[in-house]
Amino acid sequence: MTRIEEFVKEQAEKHGRDRNSLMPILQAVVQSERFLSEEAMVAVATELDLSTADVFGTATFYTFMDTFPRGKNIIRICKTITCHMKGKDAIVDTLEDMLKIKLGQTTTDGKFSLLQANCLGWCHKGPVMLINDEVYPEITPEKAVEVVSKYLKKG
């Protein structure tokens, strides 16, 4: 048994093996591994006796469940209408410029991925940026550069 298989088995013991347990198990894997590898999805499907296509389908429905590796820090800019009207495009342009990547890409050093997100529930304080689990409301291009620079220094 590989490390991931063991991890998934532990999670299945903890959450149960019915279909309802699929989400908490996938979340646990993402928490621990940062993304769902092919191996992890096969392990989950095997434990829960589901088809891998089913597991893949569930995982790809959720923005926060990646099925391939991302950068160490994941920057998400809210793309929905309020943040859009409050100028999220300028934030995206600035960060694309700063990190030399396009939306959806990861820097070559693997430190940052730049993504869009659906509504993050901060419409009253848009535009909003999320880095990993940290929320940065009312962001401006300048503040965005400042915040990302801090993560850059942290490595």
Partner: protein, 596 residues
């Protein structure tokens, strides 16, 4: 269904239907057809395509007729102005995401979306063209099934088919919003995933997103090649279904017309898979008796129950999902794959042809047979045993192309040899048929008497129930079979892989005590196969099954071991069932495959 009646009006006509009936079904009772795309009689309700919207008095929104149950006093309009406009818009929206290259499309003329667009005279595109995957190369990795996402309207019939009818779920809904698509695990090629090639998704796809790989041109090329000697074999289930391609009623028996049509298409010899179905019974029946003898007399560890092996979708299902039970599968090749090597050895010799110049074509109700013919094990003759496999639908297309007026054809008979068959072989085409044919022969081998059922009709193994179980008490056996005296032979029959999974799980956990299990991968067996004419539903399949049983009753010889050609081939070529030659040509082995 509950006995409570609900009264409503549809297009101002009062109607009373059972509680729980959908508006769609209620309208059908009044002969109003509400158009549908995601709805399918064999599948659970999805309600996602919205073409079946109707107007309900007092309701601001238009409910989907397929997904809305009737209620007391409801007043429904199925063709109001509002409905017409909405429905037209829905079709236009579907088309805006559909690669409508209809004239180049394999489903041109048999596409439900095209029909609907035609019915509503959709002309110019009202909405922006949003086809994303037009440039994407079609997935043609599988020898059986082609998948073209640019044609997909995301109705999810295929997903429900694969999950609910087949318990495979090779296809699933993935991603979301405008990125949503129907995909395999990690979007891998169809040939690399658990797909069994059963083709049930093709039968239910309203567009050309899922189609069979067609080999029509290859077959015509072979026919027109003067150096090639092209023989064709036809599976049992094709003869009660091909008529549907020419507007005939499902279940119409057109065996003779089909033979004539094949001859007019230019096949050098028209032969019958039914012959090798009879041979399968000889081999498989003997194999079952041998296994029972080894278990009961010699006390050997024998894999029981024995599972039938005629259905290549079922075989691949076992290889993926129950690899620990591969020894339980009969080692007999399917009738198609028994025919191939015999055609290129025994038959080639009889007609004095070089097998290298022979082309064996099969007409099958099945898409998995295309995969089966490609399996590396299927070269018992030293050549590729079966060169091309065509579905019943492809044969229909060939006959159309050749300008043959099928309905008016005279009946002709199969060529011989390899053309003679029995009623037992014909019933291979429907669920329970292999079991019935095997019992007719095995019982007689053991007791010397006919099976104790009126007119040889073993009714308990017939019918459309998902899983059938039966016991046959074996009495007054011949001396050499004395160990079977008084034995209750327990058999089970499953059709559709979801039912097969239930049976396998019972076998696995030890709660079932079967000796012999028949599985056909498709709902209702081969008559409901993935290569059969469309549409399909239970009513159509019942009519085809009735056609099969009529054909059986109409034949003079109805037991495989009484087929004179079968007797002849054992005398002059194979010598005995499970003999050396049989082993080389008629038996195979299976390979475990990845579960995921």
């Amino acid at each position: 269904m509950s006995k409570y009646k609900v009264n409503l009006k549809i297009n101002n006509i009062p109607v009373s239907v059972d509680e729980g009936t959908s508006i769609l079904e209620a309208a059908r009772t009044l002969n109003f057809t509400i158009p549908t795309l995601c709805h399918h009689d064999d599948l659970c309700v999805a309600g996602n395509c919205r073409v079946c919207v109707v107007e309900q008095k007092g309701n601001r929104v238009l409910p989907a007729a397929c997904a809305t149950p009737v209620s007391e006093g409801m007043e429904i309009m199925t063709n109001s102005l509002k409905v017409r406009q909405a429905r037209k818009h829905v079709v236009e929206l579907l088309l805006s995401e559909h690669n409508a290259d209809c004239t180049k499309c394999f489903k041109n003329g048999s596409c439900e979306l095209q029909d609907m667009s035609n019915d509503y005279r959709i002309g110019d595109h009202v909405f922006l063209d949003l086809v994303k995957d037009r440039e994407r190369v079609k997935d043609i990795s599988s020898p059986s099934i082609e998948k073209d996402d640019s044609k997909c309207i995301r109705c999810q019939r295929c997903v429900r088919t694969c999950a609910d009818l087949q318990a495979v779920s090779a296809l699933a809904v993935t991603h979301k919003g405008n990125e949503m698509k129907i995909s395999t695990f990690l979007d891998k090629p169809m040939n690399d995933v658990v797909c069994t090639n059963c083709g049930q998704c093709i039968n239910r796809c309203p567009t050309a997103a899922l189609t069979e790989r067609n080999y029509i041109d290859e077959v015509f090329d072979a026919i027109y090649d003067p150096k090639k000697f092209v023989v064709v074999q036809t599976a049992p289930a094709t003869r009660v279904a091909i008529g549907e391609e020419f507007g005939m009623k499902p279940g119409t028996r057109v065996t003779g017309k089909m033979v004539t049509a094949l001859r007019r298409l230019g096949f050098d010899k028209v032969l019958d898979t039914d012959f090798t179905a009879d041979l399968t019974i000889m081999e498989e029946g003997t194999e079952l008796l041998t296994r029972l003898k080894e278990a009961l007399v010699e006390g050997k560890e024998v894999a029981l129950p024995m599972l039938t092996s005629c259905s290549p979708g079922w075989i691949k299902f076992q290889e993926h999902l129950y690899p620990e039970f591969l020894d339980n599968l009969s080692t007999c090749k399917s009738p198609q794959q028994m025919f191939g090597p015999l055609a290129k050895t025994y038959y080639a010799e009889k007609v004095n042809k070089n097998p290298a110049d022979m082309v064996v074509v099969s007409i099958m109700p099945c898409t998995a047979k295309k995969f089966e013919a490609e399996r590396p094990e299927m070269r018992g003759s030293g050549y590729k045993d079966v060169d091309y496999v065509l579905t019943t639908r492809e044969l229909g297309m060939m006959i159309h192309q050749a300008g043959i007026d099928f309905q008016k054809l005279e009946d002709e008979r199969y060529d011989n040899i390899l053309g003679e068959s029995t009623g037992a072989a014909v019933i291979f085409g429907t669920t329970g048929g292999v079991m019935e044919a095997a019992l007719r022969t095995a019982y007689e081998i053991v007791t010397g008497k006919e099976v104790p059922f009126t007119n040889l009709n073993i009714k308990p193994v017939r019918g459309m129930e998902g899983i059938k179980e039966a016991s046959v008490k074996i009495k007054d056996v011949k001396p050499e079979w004395s160990f079977l005296e008084g034995v209750e032979l327990n058999v089970a029959i499953a059709h559709g892989l979801a039912n097969a999974k239930v049976v396998m799980d019972k076998i696995k956990d030890g709660s079932a005590n079967y000796h012999f299990v028949e599985v056909m991968g498709c709902p209702s067996g081969c008559i409901g196969g993935g290569g059969q004419p469309m549409p399909t539903n239970m009513e159509i399949r019942k009519q085809r099954a009735a056609g099969i049983y009529e054909e059986d009753e109409g034949l003079t010889i109805r037991k495989s071991h009484e087929n004179p050609e079968v007797q002849e081939i054992y005398q002059s070529f194979l010598h005995e069932p499970l003999g050396h030659r049989s082993h080389d040509l008629l038996h195979t082995h299976y390979v475990p495959r990845k579960r995921h």
